[in-house]
Amino acid sequence: MSIRVRYFASLKETAGRSEDRIQIQEPLTAREIWRLLNPDKAAPETMLAAINMEYVSLDALVSDGAELAFFPPVTGG
């Protein structure tokens, strides 16, 4: 399964990169994917996630071909 992972704002700085592309063998949750890609960085408590540009819980399963995004609380307006 191929997944594109994107990081925004302060999480881009935390991760030290703006995106990853990974192959996984079985479905994982958003939280598991963060751990896999950032093993030495605890996910901030306030971290938000989106799959295919819709908000999801960190426990949502990520399906093949999805775009997964991690970002901090939004501050627009």
Partner: protein, 148 residues
């Protein structure tokens, strides 16, 4: 309904004039318009702010703004709705956001505009990074509740 992200300065009054003039929907039919503009201040949390960068998530930002506008228009009787939001580098006194709701009656215009604005603040993927007068940069961590 129109959702626009702007890299260039927003001129809210010119935009509103043009939008209202061109809307066939509105002429003679609406009795109320409520508009909110959010503007960059030159201070925040006790510090002088020199400039700001508004990051967003291209695609998701537009999609979420559309969801929010549709929800507001469904929940109240709104004839038309315009949302403009700045992205990229901005300076104090720049308009960051413009939300306008047109309705037959004032209650719907007020309620929908406020709902859209509050929801945008918590749901639309934008992130502010401030550059202070000292040269230091910092991410704004949380939007205010609206009164302080």
């Amino acid at each position: 309904m129109s959702i626009i992200l702007c890299e260039q300065p927003i001129e809210p009054w010119k935009e509103l004039e043009a939008y209202q003039k061109n809307s066939t929907l509105l002429k003679g039919k609406y009795g109320a318009c409520n508009i909110f503009t959010g503007v960059m201040r030159d201070f925040n949390q006790g510090d002088t702010v020199e400039s700001m960068y508004l990051e967003h998530y291209p695609g998701m930002t537009e999609l979420q703004l559309k969801h929010i506008a549709e929800q507001g228009m469904r929940q109240w009787s709104v004839l038309d709705c315009l949302i403009m939001h700045r992205v990229g580098a901005v300076a104090p006194n720049d308009t960051l956001v413009l939300v306008a709701c047109w309705a037959v009656h004032r209650g719907d215009a007020f309620d929908a505009c406020r709902f859209i604005m509050e929801t945008l603040k918590t749901q639309a993927p934008f992130w502010k990074k401030e550059t202070l007068a000292t040269g230091r940069t910092r991410w704004v961590e949380k939007n205010s509740e609206g009164y302080q």
